[in-house]
């Protein structure tokens, strides 16, 4: 079941979606048990920005039919402290996972970064380039351009410009995390490929909203502190399948498919429409070991 992705040999095709598994917090909660049964073939960090972010005011969660709307707001300690504090801890974790696995195959660290301009992305990518512990970089482009206010990832021209700006600054694989909140996701994926991306990943969460209960007692207001949020979980699975299929049919570079994967059968569907890797996100909230079950299910199915 091992798989090749951007020149890397991975033990299986299942990784985590960015921002859905804090490996440092999980190691505190689960101890060495996490290392012995680490469920992901590569580990993707949460989104890192140049400056620290506190995240959105609560409430940050809303449970919807078969899914979850979150408005977390990308809290992170900023590039400098991520590099000095988290990267060494994550490297020590992946080293412990490698020792546990015993087959010498390591779990690569993929760092997810978000900027609000091409120049910011360039600075983030250069910092990742300088760190040997980081194997690949994922660009979160679901962010409004500081000047135009348009989501960088929803506009093929802006997206291609960002890729051209960062491509020459890194020899590491560059993955573009596409936003599903666009009219033509395949056109955006094409722009990422044209700009020099090594892979794309999708889907990010779908923009969604919930109103506070008991609105009759006052003016209607959004429940989430951030106003709107992103929908994930089983509810988005069929949308993810359609978008992954459309993108994989158009591109030559590999695709990481994700969105509502809860079982090996769901992962198989994404692989069948062209995904090379599959990410598990919200399902890890329901069971931190879920991705391991997905990977084992794929393995058993391929063993026949």
């Amino acid at each position: 079941m091992s798989v090749e992705f951007c020149g890397l040999r991975l033990a299986h095709p299942v990784i985590n979606g960015s921002g859905t598994f804090d490996a440092i917090a999980a190691r505190r909660a689960f101890g060495d048990g996490l290392c012995a049964a680490f469920p992901f073939a590569a580990y993707v960090s949460k989104t890192i920005t140049l400056e620290p972010r506190q995240g959105n005011p609560p409430p940050r969660l809303w449970e919807s039919p078969g899914g979850l709307i979150n408005s977390i707001g990308l809290p992170n300690k900023g590039l400098e402290r991520y590099m000095s504090e988290d990267v060494p801890q994550l490297a020590s974790l992946t080293a412990a996972v490698t020792r546990s696995a015993g087959d010498g195959r390591s779990v690569p660290l993929i760092t997810n970064v978000m900027g609000s301009s091409a120049a910011e992305f360039a600075q983030l990518v250069e910092a990742c380039e300088a760190r040997p512990e980081i194997t690949a970089v994922e660009l979160n482009v679901s962010c409004p351009n500081v000047k135009t206010g348009l989501d960088i990832g929803a506009d093929p021209r802006q997206l291609e410009d960002v890729l051209r700006e960062v491509r020459s600054r890194s020899a590491k694989p560059l993955i573009v995390k596409l936003t599903p909140n666009t009219a033509d996701v395949a056109a955006c994926a094409q722009a990422a490929q044209d700009g020099g991306a090594d892979a794309v990943s999708l889907i990010n969460t779908l923009r969604a909203m919930a109103l506070a209960p008991h609105a009759r007692t006052g003016p209607p207001r959004p429940w989430l502190g951030g106003g709107t949020g992103g929908l994930s979980g089983g509810a988005v699975r069929t949308i993810a399948l359609a978008q992954v299929a459309a993108v994989a049919a158009r591109l030559q570079i590999p695709v990481i498919g994700m969105g509502g994967v809860q079982s090996a059968a769901h992962a198989r569907d994404l692989i069948d429409v062209g995904a090379t890797l599959v990410a598990v996100g919200t399902e890890s909230f329901r069971d931190p070991a879920a991705a391991g079950k997905v990977a084992r299910g794929l393995q058993e199915a391929s063993d026949g």
């Binding site: 804090d22 689960f30 940050r60 069971d287």
Partner: protein
Amino acid sequence: MSDSSAAIAPFGRRLLTVTGMHELGDVYRLLIAADDGPDPEPGQFAMLAAAERWGGGEDERPYLPRAFSIARRRPGESQFLLEDVGPGTRRLCELEEGDGLWALGPLGAGFRAPTAGRRAILVGGGVGIAPLAILQDTLESEPAVLLGFRDGPRCAGRELLPGAAVASDDGSAGHHGPVTDLLLAEVDRDRHATVYACGPSAMLEAVRAICATRGVPAQLALEAGMACGFGACFGCAVPRRGGGYLRVCVDGPVIDAAELERVDEHAGAPQ
């Protein structure tokens, strides 16, 4: 209570069996067969979900597991206190002996032992009395226990903590008024104490304010809607004194009152 306030959970949720569901007035005491998982520290919690029919209730929910304080640990058995306040808690309250239950835990940072010489005062409200029961079991010397309830039917939970003084909002049991009236009297009698509290956010805020103005250390077990329970989702954030947020699941659920400017209306959602 050991020096450490957190036991390490096995990685991954485990399928356990319900061994009992007992009505206790308007709340339920859920008993589940404990596996060979570690003994929880008082104040730690578990994420619970029914193994069958988790989903398909009101608004096609529940979807995510729900967080509950561990109320008591007996050899071979763990206890929880449930109140039906939404589609998740409703489904859990319907469980019967023999049903399967997914459990992840014990999780979070629990209560810390009182510093030398200070007596413990336990203050609980509603189903929030749960973690105080396991705390009472483990304290070295007998604490003062003060419990508040909305009305008579909800007071039945008092039997979990023997020897408790009770207050009720409607006057149907014990003191007629908030439990913080009892706390004020207790603290003013002797301030050399550590307060341990769990309950509704308004009660916790009143406890925090009373303790802050009198210089009495307090440990508050907070509640917040959370998706995961182990630091992954960042959904259970509460404002921290001086800026930023704490994650109730990994920085708490037991948080030193001095870390909070005030106890916010809880961060809400999944119930």
